[in-house]
Every structure is written in structure tokens, then in C-alpha cells.
Symmetry: C2
Subunit: 470 residues, 2 copies
């Protein structure tokens, strides 16, 4: 018998056993409890969607949302709760959004304005609609060729578990209207960047190039966009004319804010673990998936970790304001706190369906910790991903600090059915999947918040205070 091999085998067995049996019994038990019956996440998302509802950035509704969240964090025993204000440019959607095909077939279409859309004159505009299958087709249109016309951009999105098709279809919204305006269009409508078939358009921000004035820009619901495309197909050389009326407007600078709260660690001088989400939604949706659920998940996980024993590091939740309208909160938070090192950042902003993959940006630099986390979440059906975590929209500070990031990828097949639509309501949340999120987060945050070394490197903490209280 080869004793060396046996010893290696025994060591190997120990490693496996540790991974399988997991982390501290208290943390394992809390994660299991979260999976079976976490009450906090549902309480948060049901509460904010019912008692506040839609909460567009920079409006009184978002302010009510922040106040509600602070009260909730306080009731749950978070410390150092604050609403850190910042100013932002605010656009509001108005109360008129009408579209109608007037020829060759008369029919109303359901439309909503895109964020930063211009307004039509009162009474609307009516013009020939020009069909573009893709943004690239629009880009290829000759300069001035859209003068006096309304551009329609198709650019169909498809569901993908990792949401990757957003990158393919998103430009129709992000830059399509701006390109159309630069070629003379007096309006633009897009097929909603979404994957459902309900009469609820997907809004979201658009932008116009420097020096190009905003034109009226709206999203049609998927059924309406498909109907319009059938009309183009049946028009048989006749023009398709569209009437469009919308009255959104820019109202200048208003105040938003970032809500923060903490589970204070045993050594509050150590860089904290930052858990991010965003508190704002578009005006048209109570933001259950986007991102009430995210704030619910991170807050619930922080509570479960606390329940397993006071963590070494402070856990800070950042319920960012004004994400939808341009990451104002994320930028403001980074600016205000850039000199305060963050140990690691994690964000939840992709709905409430199950987490299926764990990724970090320290898989190479701190493989032991990466493997330990991967092993700890395997029992929840989460795989060990090899992609490099990039963090969510509200983790600007961590990217600016070039710090450690973890991504807990959620199943995105349903996400773009609901994203930025009125249908993003509480009933869409599957309670069992929501609890799986909380369980996985509890494990991951519990490990990270009790890690005494640098999370990014596994070595000593570069920016750590000289005296450790532990």
C-alpha cells in the first residue's frame, strides 16, 4: 500500500467532506432555513410593491420608496441606515401616449414613451413610417433619408437563460431613435425590447447624440409591433402612415438618494462586503422583478447571515436610487465613497428566478476562496462558472476601486417578459425560487463576510487598518 497516495486520498476526502458538509453549522443551517421558509424577502417585495408601487427616479414616488425601505431596514434591525442624497436630471413620461396606423389599415397601437423621449406637438404628428429590420439597416440609411418620417425598428429579442440577447436587441432602444433623429426622422417607434406577447410595452432609457434634439420615441408592445409588420407586408407599395402623440418632458434637476444600511461586523474597520440592488423602477411598473426582488434578496441574506452569528466584516446593503435613468445612484455612491475600500461587491438585479451559476473575478487570484464558495452553493443547484464576474450596474464603486466581485447569475428566461413593463408585478414572483436566491446569497455572503484575508488575492488586506480587532 502506498502510504503517500493514501494520505493524499485521505486529504482529498477531507477536502470533499468539508465542501459537502459545508461551512459553519450555523451558516449552513441559516441557508437551509432561508431555502425552506425565508420570510424577509417576500415581506420586502410584497410590501414595497403594495405600499409604494411604481417609483420612478427623482420623483416623489421614489422618495416614498426610499422612506419605506429605510423604515423596513430599521424594523429589521439594520444599523447606520441613511439616505444619501444626490441630484439628477429628471425626465417624466407625461400622461398621453397614443399611436395609430391611419393607412392603409386603421388601427390603434399600444405605445409607451422611452426615457428621454421628446414630445410631439399637441394633437400629435402623422407621417409615413419606414420599416427597419435591424439597427444596422437603420445605420445604413442615407443621411437625410428619414426627413419628415417616422422610423420603425424591429430587431426581435429572444429569451436566453443568461439574458445575453439583451446585448443583441438592446441597441434598438438605446441608440435607434438617436440614429433615426440624426437622419431627419421626426419620430421613432421600436418593437419593445422584450420577449413576451402582452399588450404592455417595454420602456427604458434611450439617448440622443450630441447636438441632435430628442424626437418622440416610443416602444410598441410585441403584439402591436408584429401587427404593424404584417401591415407593412400587406401594404403592397402603399405607404404605411402612423399618427403618434406623446407628451413626456425633461423637468430639470431633482433629488434622488441612495439608501444604505449595515449589519455591523466584529471588526468594522475591515473593508465591508457590499450588497447592491436598486430601489427605483420605471413609472409604469411596481418593479417587483426589477428590482424589488433584488433589494429583498440582499436584505434577507444579510439578516440570515447575522442570524448565524455576528460576521467578521460589516455587511452593507446599498439600495441605489436612479439606476434605470442612468446609474445616477451608482455614480454618486462611488464618488462619495471612493476612498473607502470595499472588500467585495455583489448585486441582485435580474429578477427573482433561481440562481444557476456562481462567478467571481478572483478565480485565478484567490482560487481557494473561489472553490470554497462554489462548493458551498452546489447543493442549491448552482454551478461553478468560469466567466469573470463583472458586477452589476450599481457596483461602480467596486469597479472604480478595481476590487473583488461576485456574480450570482439568475435564470433569465422570463426576465425580459417583464422587464420595464406594467406586468412587472408581485404575482410574477415564484416564492420558492425567491427563497433559493436568499439561500444562495446567505451562503455566499456568510463566507465572504467572515473572510479575514483579502478576497481578491487571498493575501493580507492591502487597505486594511493596521490593528485587527479580531
Amino acid at each position: 500500500m502506498n502510504r503517500t497516495l493514501t494520505a493524499l486520498a485521505a486529504l482529498s476526502l477531507v477536502t470533499v467532506t468539508t465542501a459537502a458538509a459545508g461551512e459553519t453549522p450555523a451558516l449552513e443551517a441559516q441557508a437551509s432555513a432561508a431555502l425552506d421558509g425565508d420570510p424577509h424577502a417576500w415581506d420586502f417585495v410584497a410590501g414595497i410593491t403594495t405600499e409604494v408601487g411604481p417609483r420612478q427616479a427623482g420623483t416623489e414616488a421614489e422618495a416614498r420608496g426610499r422612506a419605506w425601505a429605510m423604515q423596513w431596514l430599521k424594523a429589521k434591525g439594520f444599523a447606520n441606515i441613511a439616505d444619501e442624497p444626490f441630484m439628477m436630471d429628471t425626465w417624466i413620461p407625461g400622461d398621453i401616449a397614443r399611436a395609430r396606423v391611419t393607412a392603409p389599415f386603421a388601427q390603434d397601437l399600444v405605445v409607451l414613451p422611452l426615457g428621454n423621449s421628446g414630445a410631439t406637438p399637441a394633437g400629435g404628428i402623422e407621417a409615413e413610417a419606414v420599416f427597419f429590420r435591424t439597427v444596422d439597416e437603420l445605420r445604413a440609411a442615407p443621411a437625410g433619408s428619414l426627413a419628415g418620417k417616422i422610423a420603425y425598428i424591429s430587431h426581435q429579442m429572444r429569451p436566453a437563460q443568461d439574458g445575453s440577447h439583451y446585448g443583441f436587441a438592446g441597441p434598438a432602444r438605446w441608440v435607434g431613435p438617436g440614429i433615426a433623429a440624426s437622419k431627419g426622422a421626426i419620430g421613432a417607434v421600436i418593437k419593445s425590447v422584450g420577449t413576451d406577447h402582452h399588450r404592455n410595452p417595454h420602456t427604458g432609457g434611450t439617448s440622443f447624440p450630441e447636438g441632435i434634439a430628442a424626437i418622440p420615441a416610443g416602444a410598441l408592445s410585441l403584439p402591436d409591433a408584429e401587427n404593424l409588420e404584417r401591415m407593412f407586408a400587406r401594404a403592397d407599395r402603399r405607404s404605411v402612415t402612423l399618427r403618434l402623440e406623446m407628451n413626456p418632458r425633461q423637468i430639470g434637476q431633482t433629488q434622488s438618494g441612495n439608501v444604505v444600511g449595515e449589519i455591523v461586523g466584529r471588526n468594522p474597520l475591515l473593508p465591508p462586503v457590499l450588497l447592491a440592488c436598486h430601489i427605483d423602477s420605471w413609472w409604469n411598473a411596481p418593479g417587483a422583478f426589477d428590482d424589488g426582488a433584488g433589494c429583498a434578496i440582499i436584505s434577507a441574506a444579510a439578516l440570515h447571515v447575522r442570524q448565524s452569528g455576528q460576521p467578521l466584516r460589516t455587511i452593507r446593503v446599498l439600495l441605489a436610487g436612479a439606476e434605470e435613468t442612468g446609474l445616477w445612484g451608482s455614480k454618486a455612491y462611488s464618488e462619495a465613497h471612493i476612498d473607502e475600500p470595499i472588500a467585495v461587491g455583489i448585486e441582485s438585479d435580474f429578477g427573482a428566478d433561481r440562481i444557476w451559476r456562481f462567478e467571481s473575478n478572483f478565480r485565478q487570484s484567490n482560487p481557494a476562496l473561489h472553490k470554497r464558495i462554489a462548493a458551498a452553493v452546489a447543493r442549491f443547484g448552482v454551478s461553478n462558472g468560469s466567466d469573470v464576474a463583472t458586477g452589476g450596474a450599481d457596483l461602480n464603486i467596486v469597479r472604480d476601486q478595481q476590487g473583488a466581485l461576485v456574480d450570482l447569475q439568475q435564470d433569465g428566461l422570463r426576465y425580459f417578459d417583464l422587464h420595464h413593463t406594467p406586468d412587472d408585478t408581485l404575482d410574477k414572483i415564484d416564492k420558492a425560487q425567491l427563497r433559493q436566491n436568499v439561500a444562495v446569497w446567505t451562503m455566499v455572503v456568510g463566507i465572504l463576510a467572515n473572510e479575514s484575508n483579502s478576497i481578491l488575492t487571498g493575501g493580507p488586506i492591502p487597505a486594511a487598518p493596521a490593528i485587527m480587532q479580531e
Copy 2:
């Protein structure tokens, strides 16, 4: 060997073989062709939803729908096409429909008016909302107890394959607002009579008792109704107040019409087979399921039967006007044609999902024909039902004549997801299930249109002309 028994067995075998091998090869082949690739039904429903769209009864949109349908029937070679006019009372929805909870939680709710709803004063009404779980709870409220208040009626509908829960939940809409008004309510909102969870309310007609003036009456989408109920649950003795603004109105008598067309039989003097659907929809939906699909199915089946050879009897399609707003077309058709016997009536008005059961009202009186039809449709997955067929809403004439009826029951599990909502769009139609409908209808109509005896009794035709041309 018992020769009698053998003879019986042989006879039995022949019967079974006939049933299994089916009807004439030409008819069997047409039904199979319909199942595999019927082009007509999709052509109709895609056409009318794209080129006409919503077509509320008594409006110019319905008139466009009738004109479109006549043109389609003509292009397909139907004979004796006509638009038989009648007058009706017409209500229109207006262009304002807003609801907002103002206390204890401020949030907009998505609402649409019910047919025959009254209007609010300009600027709307604001009042305490009173929660009623069921219509019976509302009925039990003391007289005058709703003075100055807005009634909210919950009364949750559930999906059922046979749509039977409509009978349970429907009264919330049909009579709920009228009962509330009779107890002094100044407004009523109901949870949509529907089974989906999208932000698209289900409208539909309501009515008010004699002597009770119409009050503003609206349907909330299911997510909004559930949200309102959560607010009631969290109000904790505080009043829930609701603001409601709607501007529907009655516009008096306008004209509608019944579109008819025929596949003329070899003996046009025999009572015809009547295939019914309705051409109108509510204003908020292009009526793909309700009832573009029905008109598509009956017309396509008539064409397939013709393709299998000229039928003995005339097949008449009745694309009734103004079904949704009170069966005006059905009543007008019966009144105009009551003295012209109908051989048998069948209607398609329950969407486009697969047919699962065949029923007749001649199972007892003409068992041979009932069994023959049941055997002929078995290969399409259709069972032989023992319920007595009652016919659809547009078959008043057959009921008034106490004539023969066939019901081809469709799978209704999805029907009330879409019924009377903006979501009733073309994309909801499953092409394979639509074709199954056409195949089953082809078989059934083919058998009935070639039946020389009375369909109701199997005996000589009571009202038949003396000389048969066959």
C-alpha cells in the same frame, strides 16, 4: 356454431368498420387536409385582426369588419353574401379610464370601463372603497349602506377546460355594479372576470336594474385587483379611498348588421345547415380568439366541405353583428328568418384551442346520426359527450325554432386569459389547434350537410319541400 350470433357479429363488424374507416373518402381526405395544412382559417383571422383590428358593435370599425368579411367570403367563392342591417343601442367607452388608490397607500391601478358603465364627472370621483369578497356578500349589504361609496367586488375566477367557472364568476360583472348602485354606491370596480395575470383588464357588458341609473363601473386587471386586496388587508382600520375617472357614454341607436354567405347545396330547398360566429369584438381587442377564430373556423370548414363535393344541403355561415353588447345580431337574425327552417345549428365562439368533445341535442331522438358523427370525429381526439347541446349565443333562431343543435366544445383553459382583453391578439392562436378545429368542423358539417333526413329526429324532414331534387 350459432349462425345468428355470427351474423350479428358480422353486422357489428361492418358497423364498426364503417365508423372507423369513416365517411366518404372525399370528406375524410378534406378533413385530413384541413388538419395538416388548412390555409383558410389563418388567412381569415390574420386578415381581420391586421386589416381591421378591434370592431366594436354599432361603430364604423364593426362596419369595416363586416365589409372586410364580405370581401373575404366573395374572394373564396361563397354565394348569396349579404349584410343584413339592424339597429341597436350603442355605448362607447370614451378615452379616459383612470383609477388610483389615494389612501392609505398611493398607487395607480389599471382599469377599463364595463359596457354600459356610466361616466364620472370630469375630474373624477373620490370615495371610500368597500370590499366585497363575493356578489352574495354585496347582495347581503344593507339598503343604503353604500351611499357615497365605491364598491369593490373580488369573486375570483379559475380556469376550467369547459369554461364553467364563467358561470360562477360572471355575476360580479353582469350584475355586481347594478346591485351596488341599488344600495347607493357612486361607483363600482370589480376584479376582472378572467384567469390571467397581466395588466390588461377584462371588459364586458354589465347592466343596471330598471329604475337604477348607471354608475361608473370598471374592471381592474387581476394584478391590480390583488394589489388592492393587499391594501385592504394592510389598511388596519384605515379607510381605503379610491379615485375613479371614466367618460363612457350611450350614443343612442346606431346600425349594425349580420353578414351571411352560402355554399349552395344540391337541393337548396332543403333546410340549410347554419354555422355561426360573431364578427364584432370589444373596442379594446382585435378579437382574435373572440371571435375572429370562430368566423375563421366555420368559413374554412364550409370551404373544405365544398371541396369534397357539392353538399346536399346549403351551408350558411352567419357572422353575427353585435354579439358582445347584447346578442343584437342573434335576435335580429331570428326575427327576420324565423319562418325559414334551419336543419341544424353549430357555433364557434370559444377561441381557437382544440375541440375535445362533441355534443348534440339529438342523441336520444336520432341516435344513429349522433353515433355516426361521434365516430367520425374520434380520430381528432374528440370524445362523445352526453350533455345536451344548447348552441351558442348567435343561434337564437335555432332555439326559437326548437331545432337541432351541435356543440363542438373547445379547450377553455386559456380562453379566460384573453377574453375581452387587449391581449386577445393573433399571436395567441396556436396554428395546429386552429387546424384541428377546422378538421373536426369539416367532418361534422360534411356529414350534416349531406344528411337527407331530419337531423333532429332521423325521420322525414317536417318542413321540407314536397319535391326533393336529389
